[in-house]
């Protein structure tokens, strides 16, 4: 099963790679970066290597053919690790702090430190934070309008864990997949969005 997925993916990726017109410049760009960059702090050189998903998004200008996108989204979805205890709602107050915090994973951050979710950088969320970005959609009253069902909780958990499972070349980082946020942190963010007591839903 695993193997066949990989080969389907490889074939698709190859097809895109072959049809891409800027391949030569891209190859030169990658070679140049490999030469000119250096590891610093926790940011090692392997970060310059595309993973499979990045490769497909890069070569398709973030617009992969539908069958490829669906296939790869399925892979991403299947790789999401949901909480073993089956609970998705953490503490919305902690969630708000995580949403506010923008540090983590840069070369100036330390290994092992608690990372932030940078959520406000891109989304409107709570009512009291007027300094929010607009790269992502507004999440105001997210739970109020969408409900708090177990399915919704699982969806939100999954979306934060790996946004690419739902939209392959989304701008949103894969916070769980990349090891940026812990299970508990993601639960807290789910609570921020869905807990009826969270100011987001007031």
């Amino acid at each position: 099963m695993k193997k066949s997925q990989t080969s389907i993916f490889a074939a698709a990726a190859l097809a895109i790679a072959l049809t891409a017109h800027a391949g030569d410049d891209r190859a030169k760009a990658v070679a140049l970066m490999q030469r000119d960059f250096h590891a610093k702090g926790i940011a090692h050189m392997d970060r310059l290597n595309e993973d499979a998903l990045q490769l497909v998004c890069n070569r398709s200008h973030n617009n992969p053919p539908k069958p490829v996108a669906e296939r790869l989204q399925q892979d991403q979805l299947e790789a999401i690790k949901y909480p073993a205890d089956g609970k998705f709602l953490g503490d919305w107050k902690s969630g708000e702090k995580i949403a506010q915090t923008g540090s983590g994973m840069t070369w100036s951050d330390k290994a092992g430190q608690a990372n932030g979710g940078s959520c406000y950088n891109c989304h409107q969320i709570g009512p009291n934070e007027t300094s929010f970005g607009t790269i992502g959609n507004s999440l105001r009253q997210f739970g109020k309008t969408r409900g708090n069902s177990p399915q919704m909780q699982k969806y939100v958990y999954g979306k934060i864990y790996n946004a690419k499972a739902f939209s392959l070349c989304s701008n949103m980082p894969r916070f769980g997949h990349s090891g940026t946020l812990t299970e508990q942190q993601i639960k807290d963010l789910v609570a921020l969005l869905l807990d009826p007591n969270s100011p987001v839903n007031k």
Binding site: T101, G102, S103, T106, G116, S118, N121, S131
Partner: protein, 156 residues
């Protein structure tokens, strides 16, 4: 400034000696004023103490003071503030920031011949009311405006 003279002024008990020297023509009044940095006012930890230390215990709200400042500061570290006084006989213009660790930011003496208008840039520790205090013919006039301090771009 001449440090010796300043010390002499302090040692000599301030106002009386100053008046004496000024009367004798040793000091020009405006230069002497410049030497007198009001420590008590500048170190005051809240607005009331700062006003009191400036001698502005009672103040008149005035529409004749025009403050130019942003509603929302792009960055609290550099906030442009301009103040113009249309009050006749304006002698000094001060800028105070309510929520800063020390409230008094600046005090400008306006000699005759200089327009009662100054611009500078201040730091705001957080969203705060900013006051412009004008002294004219022995009375104090004031206006205020809230300036918001925001969080900008960047992830950390």
């Amino acid at each position: 400034m001449d440090q010796t003279r300043r010390n002499a002024l302090k040692a000599g008990g301030g106002a009386s000696l100053y008046a004496l020297l000024a009367a004798a023509g040793v000091l020009r009044p405006d230069t002497a004023l410049a030497a007198d940095w009001n420590q008590k006012a500048f170190e005051a930890k809240n607005l009331k103490d700062a006003f009191d230390a400036l001698g502005a215990g009672s103040r008149i709200d005035s529409a004749d003071i025009v403050m130019t400042a942003p509603e929302i500061a792009e960055n609290g570290a550099v906030v442009p503030v301009g103040a113009v006084s249309k009050i006749p006989g304006t002698e000094s213009i001060a800028i105070l920031i309510a929520k800063n660790p020390t409230s008094l930011a600046a005090n400008f003496d306006i000699p005759s011949g200089t327009e009662p208008a100054v611009s500078t840039r201040v730091k705001l520790a957080e969203t705060s009311d900013v006051y412009v205090l004008v002294k004219a013919q022995g009375k104090y006039y004031v206006t205020k405006k809230e300036i918001k301090v925001t969080i900008g771009g960047c992830g950390g």
